[in-house]
């Protein structure tokens, strides 16, 4: 590799870093009751990557993705997410940043029970100021992508199975084309088949060259969908591994 190509390679990889964290700490509570959830996390996540975060219960996985998503303010260390540092932003700026750039998939789906599947999916668009008809149309289209038919699109969450609800949640997380999607145990409430379906949908449709997916999981059945697996222990990232086998899932969609 010549000096020149080396330089451009560095430039290129620099822009390809979605998350860059160094020495991030977070402590809950004060005094005797204080719990040090993050004890200096160093982590880089490249764009176009699906990173899984695994580790024993209580090691700080949820805390870490909350910090990455701008839901929690870190105590110390440096962290830039999509070229933004939450510490430099106001509370409302952070909220609006999340609305535009981050998608969420929660463990318990957390669909709003009074809204139909389409309306649930439309909420991130509505939050970003899209008008109802346009938002519902886009939501319907995305739901079709995750395999919903017309009837299911207008069903209430209670009328959908767990797998279907999580597909709605996935559709909701990606309907507004966020650059980063964070998922906390997205498959733990699902059977193996639904879990597979949800993960492959996310890989296929939510991951692009400039996108990044961070998935917290205990579920070894879905490790194969990861590009890299970060092991966490006691508030630190201890190891970064490659997944056991990639199966036949494409790395990036074109």
């Amino acid at each position: 590799m010549s000096g020149n190509t080396m330089k451009s390679f560095i430039e290129a990889t620099k822009n390809q870093t979605a998350v860059r964290c160094h020495g991030v700490t977070k402590t809950y509570g004060q005094g005797k009751a204080a719990v040090q959830a993050l004890r200096g996390v160093d982590l880089e996540i490249r764009t176009g990557e699906l990173l899984m975060l695994v580790g024993p219960s209580g090691c700080g996985k949820t805390t870490l993705i909350s910090v990455l998503a701008g839901l929690l303010q870190r105590d110390g260390g440096d962290c830039s997410v999509l070229d933004h540092d939450y510490k430099q932003m106001s509370f409302n700026e952070t909220t609006r940043f999340r609305g535009r750039n981050i998608g969420f998939v929660f463990q318990t789906f957390d669909l709003i029970p009074a809204l139909t599947a389409a309306e649930n999916v439309a909420t991130p668009l509505l939050i970003n100021g899209v008008k109802w008809p346009a938002a519902l149309e886009k939501a319907g289209a995305v739901l079709k992508v995750v395999g919903f038919d017309d009837r299911m699109i207008h069903s209430l969450p209670t009328d959908l199975s767990g797998g279907q609800q999580q597909r709605v949640a996935v559709a909701r997380a990606m309907v507004h084309d966020p650059r980063m999607i964070v998922c906390d145990e997205p498959t733990s409430a699902l059977d193996s088949e639904s879990g597979h379906m949800v993960m492959s949908l996310m890989r296929q449709f939510a991951l692009g060259k400039d996108r990044v997916l961070v998935v917290v999981t205990h579920d070894t059945r879905i490790f194969e969908f990861a590009d890299r697996i970060a092991r966490m222990e006691d508030g630190r990232i201890t190891r970064i591994e490659n997944p056991p086998s990639r199966g036949n899932v494409p790395l990036n969609n074109p």
């Binding site: 839901l71 970003n128 909701r172």
Partner: protein
């Protein structure tokens, strides 16, 4: 976003119904209490309302309300008559007397003595009779005056004018023309029943002529209570009242002013005002309780979804607006329901002869109460949204 809020609200029917109930209850109770009070106040000036031909009421300078009675010397009538602009002036005697019923029971009455010549001041009579029945000697017209069961006399001859103890628990009927009562040991002849406006406070009334009143009431130097003045056409009642005051040093009030005086006096002096205020406070408190708790429960149960919305980028401000629009919808519908209910209940109430008058300010007061209740409830639940930690909901914690 607000559509989402409303859908969330309507989606939880039990709480929505509870909220609506709380607010409807508040608006109903407050409006009802105010209307009931309005009805009572209206009845307090029934005597004035009953005499539409009296444009100006003349009285002792110390009198402030139609119920606080101080009499005038008889000569004042002619002094009033001589004031320019007075077309006619008739006397009205108002007094209190106990009447003995044929079974021996005593009953307190208001005695109203009207001008012998014109009989102005006798209300319409039941059974097609006219005020002319008062021209018979010692004739009186009885009126329930908003009371019930106070005009009953024994059905059987045997129970009438008994020797010894009164016959109280015997078959009874209403007084009719031809019955006799004793007022201050003077026998009076019931000449019929009238349909006077119900009074507040309620009291049975004996209408009679001025001269009969003088005859049956205990002798007093002064009997004349009010002089009822009709103005010459084209003369303003307020102007004439001022002129009469000027000329006679008596108090003269245009009838609408006198009504206002009476209500003000009632507000300042009646214990029932306190009762109404208590009722209002209870209504507001219950409303606050039910609505506040329901709204708080609703928001609290949905806190998780507000957190999710916040995580997805909804600002605190838009979440608060969502909560306010939920409260606003409930307030609007609840007020409507409550007012509708109040109108219906008022109808029934009026049919049963209770005081009820929904004046313009009753719904306004009801609406204001609801506004306060809803703002309180919204603030209460808004607080929990402000305090929530979106991150802690992430993992379903």
């Amino acid at each position: 976003m607000n559509l989402i809020a409303l859908k969330m609200l309507l989606g939880d029917f039990t709480k929505y119904a509870g909220l609506l109930f709380g607010i409807a209850f508040t608006s109903f109770l407050v409006t009802f209490a105010v209307s009931y009070f309005g009805g009572m106040m209206t009845r307090s000036f029934a005597l004035i309302a009953e005499n539409p031909r009296a444009d100006v009421w003349v009285m002792d300078p110390a009198v402030v309300a139609v119920d606080s009675v101080i009499n005038l010397p008889a000569a004042d009538l002619s002094r009033v008559r001589s004031v320019e602009g007075v077309q006619s002036a008739v006397p009205l005697a108002v007094a209190q007397a106990d009447a003995r019923f044929p079974n021996g029971r005593f009953q307190s009455f208001q005695v109203i003595g009207v001008d012998d010549a014109t009989l102005i001041g006798v209300p319409p009579m039941s059974g097609g009779a006219t005020a002319a029945v008062l021209r018979a000697p010692d004739a009186v017209i009885v009126d329930a005056g908003g009371t019930s069961g106070k005009l009953e006399t024994p059905l059987l001859k045997a129970d009438q004018w008994p020797r010894g103890r009164p016959h109280l628990d015997v078959p009874m009927r209403l007084l009719i023309a031809g019955d006799e009562l004793l007022v201050n040991d003077t026998r009076v002849q019931v000449a019929g029943q009238s349909e006077a406006l119900p009074r507040f406070p309620p009291r049975p009334i004996l209408f009679t002529t001025y001269s009969t009143a003088e005859h049956i009431l205990l002798p007093e130097r002064r009997r004349l209570t009010f002089v009822l003045v009709t103005t010459v056409p084209g003369v303003d009642a307020h102007t004439l009242a001022a002129r009469i005051e000027e000329a006679t040093d008596l108090r003269a009030r245009a009838s609408d002013d006198f009504k206002t005086d009476t209500v003000k006096w009632m507000l300042a002096n009646s214990e029932d005002v306190g009762d109404a205020v208590t009722m209002l406070s209870i209504a507001m408190l219950v409303g606050f309780g039910v609505t506040g708790v329901m709204m708080f429960m609703f928001t609290n149960e949905n806190l998780k979804y507000y957190a999710v919305l916040n995580a997805m980028g909804a600002t605190t401000r838009s979440l608060l607006i969502m909560i306010c629009s939920q409260a606003a919808l409930c307030a609007l519908l609840g007020t409507g329901l409550g007012l509708g209910l109040c109108v219906l209940a008022g109808q029934v109430f009026v049919n049963y002869g209770f005081p009820f008058r929904m004046m313009w300010f009753a719904p306004v007061v009801g609406g204001t109460a609801v506004l306060l209740v809803s703002i309180g409830a919204a603030a209460f639940s808004g607080r929990s949204v402000l305090k929530m930690q979106p991150a802690s909901f992430l993992a379903g914690r």
